[in-house]
């Protein structure tokens, strides 16, 4: 079992992470990757039917605590579903539209477990890890509020532990 967690300003290279993940054992049958990108459009919090162009995004985090929380999230995931390797990379600092913001890569014997772990880790990253997102919408700074859909996504794993 190989777990790698990075919180960093630098960009990451999907191909390098994939190569590293799949080289760990020849028993791997499935590799799932999730990459989050910065969209150029942010829905307004008070009016989800409209939106504004995103100029840039700033990600703040709590060094030390963030890494520990992500490690706990990943540990819980691999206890639920067997895996060979999990890599989590979360960028912080100033990001522009189309930039990569988060990576989750999972290897396992069978695809079901790899998909579950990737989804579980993403749902918890959105709602448990100590990141705060501030958007710049054409000059106006705004701290992002948590999304109801993210809270519900994380809650589904506790309601139905086998799902």
């Amino acid at each position: 079992m190989s777990i790698n967690i990075h919180v960093q300003h630098e960009d990451f290279d999907l191909a390098a992470e994939y190569t590293e993940l799949r080289s760990q054992t020849s028993k791997i049958g499935a590799v799932v990757t999730f990459t989050g990108l910065v969209r150029d459009f942010e829905r307004l919090q008070d009016d989800p039917t409209s939106g504004r162009n995103l100029h840039r995004l700033t990600l703040q985090h709590y060094p030390g605590m963030t890494e520990r929380l992500i490690a706990e999230i990943v540990d819980e995931a691999v206890q639920r579903w067997p895996a060979f390797g999990v890599t989590v990379i979360h960028r912080v600092g100033c990001l522009r539209p189309n930039e990569q913001i988060v990576f989750v890569g999972v290897t396992s014997e069978h695809r079901e477990n790899a998909f579950k772990i990737a989804e579980f880790v993403m749902d918890y990253l959105k709602t448990k890890a100590t990141f705060w997102k501030q958007v710049d919408l054409n000059g106006q700074q705004q701290w992002i509020q948590p999304k109801q859909s993210d809270t519900e996504a994380a809650a589904k794993w506790t309601e139905d532990s086998d799902e």
């Binding site: 703040q60 993403m122 990141f131 705060w132 501030q134």
Partner: protein, 85 residues
């Protein structure tokens, strides 16, 4: 002189810009709740935000209850709802 360090994240950091983040530990100050009360006199807008039910407090990077005992040298962080990913 003993000190306690305060960290404010996200929206709370904006509101706390004029707060001294390293405050004297004077023996009267025994819990995060008492700390917020002490800030309340001078920083009413920040304190209103700190008192919102979804704001969490951590001591030395562990989430704690508001009546958690404080010690000299503690790092106390105020955490609004997180929005990573």
């Amino acid at each position: 002189m003993s000190m306690i360090n305060l960290l404010f994240f996200g929206r709370l950091g904006d509101l706390a810009q004029d707060v001294n983040h390293s405050i004297t530990y004077d023996g009267q100050l025994r819990t995060p709740e008492q700390l917020v009360h002490q800030l309340e006199v001078a920083h009413s807008k920040l304190v209103a935000a700190l008192r919102e039910p979804q704001v969490l407090v951590s001591v030395n990077k562990i989430i704690v209850k508001w009546d958690h005992p404080l010690c000299d040298g503690d790092e106390i962080a105020f955490l609004p709802p997180v929005t990573g990913g």
